[in-house]
Amino acid sequence: MPIHQLEREAYQRLLVLLDEALDQPEADHARWLETLDDADAPLKPYLARLLAQRDQSGKAARLEAGAAAMVPAEELAESTHQPGAVVAGYQLIRVLGQGGMGVVWLARKSANLPPVALKLAAATHMPRSTGERMAREAAILAALNHPHIARLLESGVSEEGVPFLAMEYVDGLALPAHCDVQGLTIEDRLRLFISVLEAVGAAHAALILHRDIKPANILVNKMGEVKLLDFGIAKLIDESGRAGSTRLTQLAGRVLTPDYASPEQIAGQSLTVASDVYSLGVMLFELVTGDRPYRLKRGTAAELEEAILTADTNRPSNSVRAAFAERYGATTSVLKRKLAGDLDTIILKALKKSPGERYHSVLDFRDDLDRHLRGLPVRARPDSFGYAASRFVRRNRFAVSAASAVALALLFGLIAALWQARIAAEEAARANAIKQFLTGLLERNSRLQTNAAAARSKTVREVLIESSEKINTAFSNDKLLREELSRTIGNLLVDVEEAKRGASLLEEAVRLMEAREATRLDLYFETLVALINAYRVGGRGSDALATREKALIAMNARGDKTSLTRAMVLGASLHHFAKDHDREMMLLEEALDIYRNHHADHPGHATTAFALANALRVRGYWKSATPLFAEAVSVFEKTGSKDVMLLAQAHFWRGYGESQMGRPAQALPHMERGIALAEQNSGAASQAVIFLRSLHARTLHRAGRRADAHAEFARLRGPAESRKQSPNDFNLALYQGEAHVAEGEPDKAIAVLSEYGNSLATHGNQFFPNAVSWVTTLALAHALRGDFVASDRTLAKMKEVTALYSADAPTLAAYRFDVSGIHLLRGETEAAVKVWHYGLFTGDVPFKVFFESGAQVWLRLAEAKLVEAGRAGGRSAELNAEALQYSDRGIAFISKFASLDAMPYLSAYAYTVHGRALKANGKVDDGNALLGRAIALMREHHAPGSVWLRQAEKALAR
């Protein structure tokens, strides 16, 4: 035992004795040691060791030189050779690498032989150990002959006395880099890794432990062959199966590469093949996830060592990094699905803390990977009960219908849950009773299943409903059991969309808990959360809200501010049921706060961030909503949530938020990722996907990708003759109409929008702002053609819309912009300005709400002033100056939040107005320059006969 592990008293006694010893002449030390009495006998070996240190003059000198001298610079061995020189018969070509011990050269013996990696020992401060080490490495390599291990070609000492090793030169990349550069699939990666395992297995068979397995030591050459390098610190395994423990191995074991080191390596214990298995496990983890098994906060070596020794290993499927998935050309969720299950199990088995629980040999490891690749069940077993069930279902995935697979999984899960809950011996009988009860139900149902998928799809529901009806009679005299079954089956019923039955079982569970006065237990609150969820799913808003209040009051009484349960209660999304939306948002914010600070990795964190983001989104607060959607995405990916649609929406709205804030081009990739996920989940033809795609097409147009946008509109709407009116098609028609107006083609806009002239109330009822936009866009299109009668007639339809929604259209930015535009076209400047003063438009709220409206208000005001100036005569100079101020602010506003180039339609409009204002103020050249830019933009993005283009050209000519 090292001295520093001595108990304090013993240590103090040791120091006293050491003092005593030092008082003696050195020659007497041995004799003095013998005189120690029995009480001090345990300290004798320590004293002997300490006193023996006196002879170590080298060490003493190092100590005298001080600590600072012990932290040397990154000294590289100076190469004493020049390229072209010949050493040991090899001509040196170039240096491949340098280290403290020597230099590795690319060298060749003759022009017809392949080049080699020639390692030359340099004269350093420890030349002897260097030579020894190289000799040892040579001996080890010589014993290995395997296609996946870099071969030793020759070793010895050169004519000038330099020890050298000539090795097969591997021209290639480290394994992970190779996989990434080649964009290899998971399966290809596994196949390469199997070669690695075979190479290490061959070394083990030759009784050699590598002990420093890491990516840098495993290269893939140009032919795609794996080559294992560097047996510099490899060690021979002795007969007991353990590597001998010399100074060097201790040092190496403790010092090198903790990222891939095994727990026993970190702890400085002796090593077996299991240590290499562990390092290989770390590498495989990294190879398929792009990440390491431990997430570290500070990234220090000490923290890593601590993690290797004690922390739980992350599941590979939960560790896939988005950036990695991207390189690999897939989404994280696709990758996750590949890893979840057997690969998780295999890797986690290799990474067990205890060597005995890992694969007993590298070849066992290899076999399991091979079985996995061939779709066979693997030998490694996860600890959980669910494995048997999931394996059964997967093996029979074609024979068992999806629904009955769910039924089986649910039942297995249920039994497992009850087992765990009732693990105590005296409860075993009870758990058994439950099991019999459930398996009885299952068997009866299996017999009833004659054939059809329809019958099977009823299974889950039927089993659960049947059990829910029997709980009371089957367990009439056991209240605790009734409570537990009510809770468990109630939850499952909600999962299979039997919300009403589920709720009544959960109500029963709550009642039973209250009757036994168990209302302070976490379980009570968990049951309330489940009940709230059941009400929510069943659309019973007021019951849900009331239950939540009840839970909150009880939690406050308990002084509970930060528990997970509280976060779950607060985060229950009841937003659409509640009248007081501000309070709902506050509750969500509190929930989010608790998750962030206390339960960051809980899936509820993601759903709550999403719920809050969505509440903000619906109200138009994109600036606050967008980062919350991003947060939801990152937590989803971290926690490996299975709710793909929620993840899809989070990606999508995160992107759309970017667009709403003036960055449509940046928005598109996020939106597209969301759409891809949604398609995977619901199919490309689903209405949910078409809804997302319609907004995507709208964003394409905003970003200036006109042709793409129109192609997408046409594709999504389908040919006119087979088109059916629907809320989704209404939205598409609207966005298409908006696009035509933006491009200066009011005729086309009118044609598209008029399709819904008689069915606005039927199909425009999905989304209030869209219904309003339909009215104003169509009215603006008519006004652009000079048809103010039709424009007025259209605007009158606004009454229908506001009545339908009982909401106020003029609060919407789009309304203001279009309607003020109509007023301007009619020369009604006062009315055009007044539109912006309506209702909520006080202070700067809409600026925060919606990016474009901030720019639009200034530009419309500038336009109004220009029109007024045109007819004012005497006051025109003043009005023109005002106009310039406004247009200036409009431009400034756009540049503050986005790039002028990002939104070609808005920019062209802004340049036109500002250019006109400049000209009106005598800055003719500047004005013309801007108008020129506007015209150039319009020629690129507008229809050939664009009214906006004509306007700009007229202004330029003036």
Binding site: I3, H4, R8, A60, V71, E74, G102, E137
Partner: protein
């Protein structure tokens, strides 16, 4: 190299184990002096780090000069409370934390696989030995501290701050002869720590 060291050193700030107001570092100091020391602490760390970054093979002589120089600056600013003995003890403690952090970070950076594959890991063992020795000594010192705090102070003064026997004796308040004996004893323990690999 310089950049590399800089990042390493900046990183080491995050894991700095010792707080300036650490009582163990400043035994029996009145609070207002402790505050001044805290200021000197930053000064010390800064110059120590830049010194290490510039001359990684700093000799003990330079370390000593560094500590004395820093004391002179401190004494000039706070003539009233400047107590050389306290200050040097304190400075030694700071040096220890700087050097140990430095060694730890270098070690970690090197172990983190930043070395090209061709350098072949076995070759860096020799350099690592020295650094890990510092870390092992630090660990042994932690244990020694529990058994004999004064002896640990002596190690800090001699080994980490590079003070001479004479200067260290003055700081601790022992005769030179006694201090030399104590140091000799400590040295045996440290040497043992190096060999043991703790």
């Amino acid at each position: 190299m310089l950049n590399h060291v800089d990042t390493v050193l900046n990183k080491s700030d995050q894991i700095l184990p010792m707080h300036p107001a650490d009582e163990a570092a400043l035994p029996g100091l009145p609070p207002e002096s402790a505050r001044l020391y805290a200021e000197a602490y930053e000064d010390l760390r800064r110059i120590a780090r830049s010194q290490l970054a510039r001359h990684p093979r700093t000799q003990s002589l330079e370390t000593t000069a560094l500590v004395h120089e820093s004391y002179l600056r401190f004494a000039e600013a706070h003539r009233d409370i400047a107590d050389k003995r306290h200050f040097l003890g304190y400075a030694a403690r700071v040096m220890r934390s700087v050097i140990v952090d430095y060694a730890r970070m270098r070690n970690a950076a090197r172990r983190g696989g930043q070395i090209e594959h061709t350098t072949l890991n076995s070759e860096i063992l020799d350099n690592i030995t020295l650094e890990t020795d510092v870390l092992h000594i630090d660990e042994a010192l932690n244990a020694l501290e529990g058994a004999d705090p004064q002896l640990a102070r002596i190690v800090e003064l001699r080994f980490f701050a590079g003070l001479s026997v004479e200067a260290a004796a003055e700081v601790i308040g022992l005769s030179e002869r006694t201090l030399f004996r104590e140091w000799e004893k400590a040295r045996l323990i440290l040497m043992e720590a190096i060999r043991d690999g703790v």
